[in-house]
Amino acid sequence: MVEWTAAERRHVEAVWSKIDIDVCGPLALQRCLIVYPWTQRYFGSFGDLSTDAAIVGNPKVAAHGVVALTGLRTALDHMDEIKSTYAALSVLHSEKLHVDPDNFRLLCECLTIVVAGKMGKKLSPEMQAAWQKYLCAVVSALGRQYH
């Protein structure tokens, strides 16, 4: 089980309190699809992703960004049982969606950069460390059921 100090829990809550999921979700996914274009492979049914402008204007991308970020937030209410919380989602991503788990890491990198853009220096090094630890725990849990 991942061990959290009281300070780390506070930091993670503080970051989430600054995140508007409806704004940051789409921004993070758009950025991921633009910065790591090979991630587009999973979104063949989303329509036009042929240009950066198309990605940014694509409503399915925006909607899915909200879904993904909402999923990332789930762990906040289950910090002491992250692995079991994401077991079903891990199976889904592995067996149904066939997503290379490295993509979870790429999306989280982009999310951190979006969050940094929103928070500026309010995202202290200690907060960034706790946030990174949180994302790592979720990414690890999502990759857990792959075989």
Binding site: R31, I34, D102, G117, G120, C136, V139
Partner: protein, 180 residues
């Protein structure tokens, strides 16, 4: 230093949670594409030069912040600074060294058309003297991107992000050129 979150190699009993998640505490970001050569288009080179020029008034701050965040978020990187009295985030030696590193990055921007040739001696320094594990270049690059986004939220668009990310990856490759 292979704390890859996506290892999935832990087939340990789920009941035994004590050691399973030690790796979860500290994600390594090197990914698999550090060694894949994705060269910059001329448009991306121009984007990099343009953004670094905009950034130049804050470059010291970004360098200092980036190294502070490296040691905060990836504490194992402090192992390279055991000779400092204080290697904590925000300390004077960390800030000073962050500024030095950023100076090196700016120098590399000027050599963007031939990073391998231009960074030969820096590569030898890192290979034979400093012997920094190249995995750390990627960690520091991530921290630099975070700081750029923090300090230039409007300018650090996805297009700038991809160009700078590629540049920093090329820079890391050039630095590691002489390692073996």
């Amino acid at each position: 230093m292979n704390d890859d979150c996506n290892d999935g190699d832990d087939d340990a009993d789920d009941d035994d949670d004590d050691d399973d998640d030690d790796d979860d505490d500290n994600c390594s970001l090197e990914g698999n594409y550090l060694n894949v050569n994705m060269s910059l288009s001329s448009k991306q080179k121009a984007t990099v030069k343009d953004f670094f020029s905009k950034m130049s008034t804050r470059s010291d701050d970004i360098g200092a912040e980036a190294l502070s965040r490296l040691v905060a978020v990836y504490p194992q990187t402090k192992s390279y600074f055991s000779h400092w009295k204080d290697a904590s985030p925000g300390s004077a030696p960390v800030r000073k060294h962050g500024i030095t590193i950023m100076g090196g990055v700016y120098d590399a921007v000027g050599k963007i058309d031939d990073l391998k040739g231009g960074l030969l001696s820096l590569s030898e320094l890192h290979a034979f003297m400093l012997r920094v594990d190249p995995v750390n270049f990627k960690l520091l690059a991530h921290c630099m991107l975070v700081c750029m986004s923090m300090i230039f939220p409007e300018e650090f668009t996805p297009q700038v992000h991809v160009a700078v990310d590629k540049f920093l990856a090329q820079l890391a490759l050039a630095l590691a050129e002489k390692y073996r």
